[in-house]
Structure formats: structure tokens, C-alpha cells
Amino acid sequence: MSLAIIALVAWLVMIVFVLVPKWLTLTDIFFLYFIVGIMTVSLFTLLDVNLHWVPVTRKVEKSLALDLCRFIIIPLLVIMAAGILNSPLRAGWRWTIGLVILVILVADDWMMIRLALIDFRQWTFLNSFLMYVVFIMVMAWIARWFVRLDRGGLRQP
């Protein structure tokens, strides 16, 4: 059942991702997706295999559900947050929507615990919250840099 629930949530996140404006080109989105994907899997593996702070499930169905979280739900939410923080919206709106996405990310962690995909041993929701704050801020900064990348460079003689 966990796989079906997570698949449904992932689908809803994809619907929202497709519908909301991100103010990014497809190249920007793929770049951010690759970076977020790399960071997410590294963090999960580090917290599980090396530190044993957040052990993950060893069951096949739940592992597939966890992969949907790692490769769809978390990356798409973080990309949306990074896009919105760099958007032309008013500052108040940007931070409010960013905060809402942050809450959804922490709620996603709560859901993963409820479905026994992960377990918080030496980790708390506050740690998660802070980790996602840093994650989103870093991604927003990377997005800002990448969007302007082709505008810089050496001048042609």
C-alpha cells in the first residue's frame, strides 16, 4: 500500500509542478533536477549507511516507494521552491510560497515515517526542517547562478 500512496502523492506533485510557472528554461530545470537528485541520494545514503541516523527500509515495495520520494517528490518540490525564490513575484509571496513548500517537504518526511520507509533514530523533524531550509537556499542560489551562466563568459574579439 505504501507504494500506491507515495505514487499518488508523486503524481499530485508532478501535476502541480507542470501547472505552476517556474520562470526557468527546460535546461535550467534539468540542471537543477540533476543537482537535487545527486544531493538527495547522497544525503539519504550518508544518513542511512554511514551514520545510521535515518535508517531506510530494506523491503522491496517500500524501497520503490522511497525511490519515488527521492527522485520525484523531493526534487520537484525543491526545484519549485528554488524557481519561486528567483521569480519576479513580490518578496512576501516568494517567501510565503517557499515556506509552504518547506512545510510540505517536512510533511513528506512525516509520511515516510508513518509508512515505515524511513525511521528517525538520531534525527528529528527540526533537523529535517533545517536541512530543507539549507537545501532550498543552496538550490535557489545555484539556480540564480545557472540562469545567468550564458550571459557571462569571455568577450568575443
Binding site: 542511512d48 554511514n50 550564458d150
Partner: protein, 167 residues
């Protein structure tokens, strides 16, 4: 969770990974510029991401088909092993674009690269970068290479066609 240890010295596998990265980066830098900076960046990252994706799904429990480098823990060398795929994917896209491979010849191109990739993986496992487990072997990787590189060709066309479109 049981941690498998294969060795704990800075030896062949570490050197092999470092030399591969250096050679890969040099090749990328020496090739004439062909893509805009952003496109080059995603063609480089594409390989790194795929490395992370498969190594962190196939090499962790419940399947755990292989371990990387010295142990089943995540180490700096494991991270570098994934970075190593960056120049590799860039060269894949570069040659595809350079030789203007027509879609009907894409399958031949992918097959050639799958053989090259399998050959490289054989070399990597010989030097202790990969340690296969639970019956996994190079033949499974060959199938994965065919699949991944087919996705890369599709990705190339998507980026060439819609890369600059805003969403």
C-alpha cells in the same frame, strides 16, 4: 546492517578513479567548444546523475547488487567514481552531435557505446572499483547501458528542441 570491507588502503581503485577523472576532464577541456555553457553543464551532469541514480539504487539494500571501492559504506572515492561519469556522458553527446548521427543510426551508435561502456566497466571491476554481489555481473550492466544511452539520445533531442523554452 553488515558492512563489507574489501581493502582499506589507497591503492589501485583510488588511483584508477583519480586518473580517469583527470583524463576525462582533460579530454573535455581539449575538445573544441560545441555547446553553450548551460548545455555543456547538463551533458556533464547527466552522466554524474545516472551514476548516482544506479549506484544508489542497485548497490544499496534491498537489492545491493554491487559495492563500490573499498567497502559498502559511502566514501569520498565513491563520490569521485560518480563524477567520473561526467566526462563520459559529455563525450557521448559531443560525438553524437559532432558526427550528426541520424536517428536511424542512433541504435548502432548506442550499441557501440554500450560495448565501450561494458569494456570500461570490466576494467573498473578489475581494478577494484566495482565488487559484484548476489549474481550480478557485467551482462546486466550491458542491458542498463543500452537503456540509459537510449534515454540519453532522447534527452539530446529534447534539449536541442526545447532546451531554451521557458516553463
Amino acid at each position: 546492517m553488515k558492512i563489507n570491507h574489501y581493502d582499506n588502503h589507497f591503492n589501485a581503485n583510488e588511483w584508477f578513479v583519480i586518473i580517469s577523472i583527470v583524463v576525462g576532464i582533460l579530454v573535455v577541456l581539449m575538445l573544441p567548444k560545441r555547446f553553450p555553457k548551460k548545455t555543456s553543464a547538463i551533458y556533464l551532469l547527466c552522466g554524474v546523475f545516472i551514476g548516482f541514480f544506479f549506484d544508489h539504487t542497485l548497490s544499496v539494500l534491498p537489492v545491493s547488487f554491487y559495492d563500490l571501492n573499498d567497502s559498502s559504506r559511502v566514501e569520498l572515492t565513491d563520490f569521485l567514481s560518480h563524477v567520473m561519469y561526467g566526462p563520459y556522458s559529455y563525450i557521448f553527446f559531443y560525438l553524437y552531435d559532432r558526427f550528426k548521427i541520424k536517428p536511424r543510426f542512433s541504435l548502432v551508435y548506442i550499441l557501440a557505446w554500450a560495448f565501450i561502456s561494458a569494456g570500461l566497466e570490466k576494467l573498473f571491476s578489475h581494478f577494484g572499483v566495482f565488487h559484484y554481489r548476489h549474481g550480478y555481473n557485467l551482462y546486466f550492466s550491458f542491458i542498463i547501458y543500452l537503456f540509459v544511452q537510449s534515454m540519453w539520445v532522447a534527452f539530446y533531442y529534447v534539449i536541442e528542441t526545447y532546451g531554451e523554452r521557458k516553463f
